[in-house]
């Protein structure tokens, strides 16, 4: 007995957390600076387990940070810089007020600046960590690089973002690490595999932005500040791994031209993505040495085989467009197509008046594919395919060169599927995907018949699915019919005493067995505990919804196909 009475909220979780306002006061920063600091240092709020305890009995909504996080921020040198900047702004304002223009000039020259290098190092202690987190950085940089100089952010930032983006794309081209591309209505998604990490980024279509008013550009700018630093260091390291010169330079055959090459023009050539990069160590066109593969420890032979197969496939994909010569018409998205084609070893050029860096003319006889995005073109060369841009993207996603017939000018394009969707069992698979899979396996499409067959098969599958779904209902129906039969029989007995030769009912053993099992399951479900039952019901609900959605899609497709079939047939007849 005895001892002091413990006071409430002086130990435990109440002391581990700190509210945002208190944290701000502890760091003596304004809210905007605090926000900036959190963004740069990667500090995010924490959700306490017992909010009321942490909130000292109050239930007011508050954001909480871990006290440890805030203590960690206390030692950050950047906080001092923030304060310096605050003072700088105050001084500057004063100088303006007094119209001391020389003072203003001097102060502006001595504007306090800070570097984020140490923060990057601290947040990403290893290079792989940094590469893993580069997704958002890329998307943001590519977005900022499309901004016009409208004062939404500094011009230097826009230029830096553009530069970093171009560097990144050039790296991807040189390392041939692009894997998937997807034309969405939002923009173009790219997925690359860099040092074993899958990195996805999105680039908006080339249009002027309609700047929204409800977006805080300061937050975005702070993120961009961090991301540009991160991306710069990542690019540097990546270029180093490939023995490339950083900052990148276009490879020149003639030494003399370098001198006269304006720096600006060289950058523009780089941005055109048509030239290969200069290397620090002049590389011999390296014949890839056949490596002997040994199974890694704890990896059995089968796994190794599959891995090898994957690697082989990947190598094949890397050389997808090798030997093909593309020419881009002026209405297609030049940068995206040039990037994708170069990533897979194709040669690409465009009209000279369109952009710097075109390597050959439209009149070149060796051009194999001419990419056009308009219904017709006047002057056509015989020895090349005129195709729509979707072909390039579909080929990349399908990892094979698709037949070009469906992508000719003026032809209705086949649907463009997302390469990121990996259908698991029970998911809805669009018929186009099935076709693609068949193509990948090496089967040749047999025009319409095959398609129809597939459709039928699919229908069968659908039916099965429906069966699964409506099993319970079926059973219920069965039982109802049984009861009805019995009733009838009973009534029959009382009404007409007549013996009719009975029919031997063929017993479906499988079915009865299934039914038995289903009933067993149902009975067992009755005995579930409440909590488990809840969980089970939830899981089953989710599964059912999934099936329902898949069925809905399949039904929609079927309706669409049915509606379009007569048209097709008519067309055929006409042909």
């Amino acid at each position: 007995m005895g001892g002091l009475q413990k006071k409430k909220y002086e130990s435990g979780s109440a002391t581990n957390y700190i509210s945002r306002n208190k944290a701000r006061k502890k760091l003596s920063l304004s809210l905007a600076d605090f926000r900036r600091l959190c963004i740069l240092k990667g500090i995010y709020p924490h959700e306490p387990k017992h909010k009321k305890k942490v909130n000292k009995g109050s239930t007011a909504p508050r954001t909480f940070y871990l006290l440890k996080d805030i203590r960690f921020l206390l030692h950050e040198p950047i906080v001092g810089k923030f304060r310096e900047y605050k003072i700088f702004v105050r001084k500057l304002r004063k100088a303006y007020g007094k119209a001391e223009w020389s003072g203003v000039q001097r102060m502006k020259e001595n504007k306090p600046a800070y570097k984020l290098d140490h923060i990057i190092k601290e947040r990403y202690p290893t290079f792989i960590d940094a590469v893993r987190d580069v997704d958002d950085a890329l998307s943001m940089c590519f977005l900022f690089s499309t901004f016009a100089r409208t004062g939404k952010c500094h011009v230097q930032t826009i230029q830096l973002c553009r530069r970093l983006g171009v560097e990144w794309m050039n790296y991807i081209i040189t390392s041939r690490s692009l894997r998937k591309v997807f034309l969405s209505i939002k923009g173009i998604y790219y997925q690359a595999e860099v040092l074993g990490q899958t990195i996805t980024w999105i680039i908006p279509y080339q249009f002027a932005h309609d700047h929204p008013t409800d977006v805080d550009y300061r937050v975005m700018a702070t993120f961009t500040e961090l991301y540009t630093t991160l991306l710069g260091f990542v690019n540097f390291r990546l270029y180093q791994t490939l023995n490339l010169v950083y900052p990148p330079k276009v490879k020149h055959t003639k030494c003399a031209s370098i001198k006269y090459m304006d720096l600006h023009i060289s950058y523009q050539k780089l941005a055109a993505l048509s030239a290969s990069l200069a290397r620090t160590v002049p590389s011999v066109e390296d014949e890839e040495a056949e490596l002997d593969h040994f199974p890694a420890e704890g990896e059995d032979l089968e796994k190794m085989e599959t891995r090898e197969k994957m690697e082989l496939e990947q190598n094949k994909q890397k050389k997808l467009f090798e030997g093909l010569k593309f020419f881009l018409n002026r209405e297609v998205p030049r940068e995206s197509l040039a990037f994708v084609i170069r990533c897979f070893g194709g040669e690409v050029s465009w009209d000279k008046s369109l952009c710097i860096g075109s390597t050959y003319d439209e009149t070149d006889e060796t051009i194999t594919h001419h990419i056009v995005d308009r219904p017709t073109i006047d002057k056509q060369y015989i020895n090349r395919y005129y195709i729509q841009p979707q072909w390039v993207y579909d080929c990349v996603n399908g990892k094979i060169l698709l037949p070009v017939e469906e992508y000719f000018l003026g032809v209705t394009l086949p649907p463009h599927l997302s390469p990121f969707v990996e259908e698991s069992e029970g998911d809805y698979v669009p018929p186009e995907k099935l076709k693609l899979l068949a193509l990948q396996k090496g089967e040749k499409p047999q025009a319409e018949e095959d398609e129809e067959e597939e459709e039928e098969e699919e229908d069968d599958e659908d039916d099965e699915e429906e069966d699964d779904q409506s099993e319970d209902e079926d059973e219920a129906e069965d039982e109802a019919s049984l009861a009805e039969m019995e009733e009838k029989r009973a009534q029959g007995k009382s009404l007409s005493v007549k013996v009719t030769p009975g029919k031997v009912k063929p017993e479906n053993r499988m079915r009865t067995e299934q039914e038995e099992k289903a009933e067993e399951k149902r009975l067992a479900i009755m005995m579930m505990k409440k909590r488990e039952k809840y969980l089970y019901d939830k899981i089953m609900f989710g599964k059912k919804r999934h099936v329902r959605e898949a069925n809905k899609l399949a039904a929609k497709r079927k309706a669409h196909d049915d509606a379009n079939k007569p048209d097709k047939k008519k067309k055929k007849k006409k042909c």
Binding site: Q156, V421, A524
Partner: protein
Amino acid sequence: NDIRNTVGNIPMEWYKDYPHIGYDLDGKKIFKPIRNKDELDEFLDKMENPDYWRTVQDKMTGADIRLSDEQVDLVHRLQEGKFGDVNFNEYEPAIDFFSNEVMIHPVTNRPQDKRSFIPSLIEKEKVGKLVHAIKMGWIKPRRPKETTPQYYDLWAKEDPNSILGRHKMHVPAPKLKLPGHEESYNPPPEYLMSEEERLAWEQQDPEDRKLSFLPQKFACLRAVPAYSRFIHERFERCLDLYLCPRQRKMRVNVNPEDLIPKLPKPKDLQPFPTTQSLVYRGHSSLVRSISTSPSGQWLVSGSDDCTVRFWEVSTARCLKTVEVGGAVKGVAWNPNPSICLVAISYDDTVVLLNPGLGDRLVSTATDQLISSYEEPEEVKEQPVQWTVAEGEGHEQGHRLILKHPKAVRQVTWHGKGDYLACVMPDNGSSLQVVIHQVSKRRTQNPFRKNKGLVQCVSFHPIRPYFFVATQRYVRVYNLIKQELTKKLMANCKWISSMATHPGGDNVICGSYDCRLAWFDLDLSTKPYKVLRHHKKALRSVAYHRHYPLFASGSDDGSVIVCHGMVYNDLLQNPLIVPVKVLKGHTITHDLGVLDVTFHPTQPWVFSSGADGTVRLFT
């Protein structure tokens, strides 16, 4: 004559009411000229006088003045914004008077200041300070500004020790969800929204939408417009990154099949009723209660159509129909095989009826037993009036009629067949349960106090215990010691029925809130297991006398038969496995099965329903 006015620059309307207009140099009044021109004269003047346009009125003197040619010219020049002087040249070449060229002669003749040729002390001091600062290294030459950020190999020395401990706790932000087929600029047709779906999407809150965008289809890549919410989405991602609390969530990744408890297969727990084999038709209204004879040959059912029917179990033949004076609430066959008596309750009456079925010897022995009653010497005041049936009633089989003060809901026999308990639910009085002794025609009220609305009662099959179920509790009384031994908490809202295991140590309770509670009396006063397998209120529960089976009937029209094995070993808990769901009764007026009872020897179960039928499941 100089007629200049001397009044100065004043508003001339001050002189409006005077005949004069001011004063001349000599201080004499200047009189206004006599103006007798009216409008007509003015007009005529305008028309006829060629100089009218150059005539102005002098405000100071009021006289009309004809402007001379020079004056008109001047007016014209001024109106055009030209200088009044014709000879003035505004574009004369400028003479650069204060030029950079030092002239031989100064412009001003002012002698130079002294300070202009003596070195400034203040400046010297200032320069000295600067020189000193430079010497001391306090002032450094300005470094050229770095405009572009410098990048280098940041991870050149990856030191595993320098990784902060807190980095282990770091939760990396989840990556954005990858787009599906529906986001494509040219998606398969099934991913496009139909008109209704689109309307529904538009009416939804932006937060509730499953897709944040409307899937669209474009014929070619050129037709794809800019996505208007692109910046928004990136901004939202930024907000997520720095404002969202992050937490490692363990996803429940269980196979739903694993959640289902592993129970012995029903096939291994046979025998139990599996199919409906007979339907006993005849009642025209709901059959409230059924009971089987101890031999298992007969079945009695009481219905709301005021009849009691006797059936042969094996053929579903109605052997006898007895009409009584009210809707039959409960029937109970005397469990003693040597007595053939059925207790029937309707309204406030309980009739003991000898159906005369089966062995005639037993039937006559029963009649004799009842008629051999001798009145005791001292007649006690009893709450129930016993009368012997006579006349037509006797013909029908009525033997004794017990008039109760209130409506009787349930009758149940003691295992020996001498005692009969009746329930008269009533919230207000202590007379809710009466126990009759048939051989002595005696009635007693075992309880002095009202402990709540009694739902049903039951005798312990072996020991002198008595179970009373009120709305929420089951009380177990010791009849010999006359005390409460146990109070079972049913954990349900309203108990509807109760059955006692033939071993006597287990009780099941059905309740109107769809639960069936199994009590193990040795274990606890709380239910050992609660089953929620019915979808609607339970109406009746029953144990089988020999087989480890129990059944429950419910308003959802189904009878669920469960295997309920009780082990002699006290350490082993009862095994409860549902084995069969029997359906057959149709639901009428929201009522399904009203009573279930087992066959005394076979693993068969009878159920009576609101559809007026009794069914046998074998």
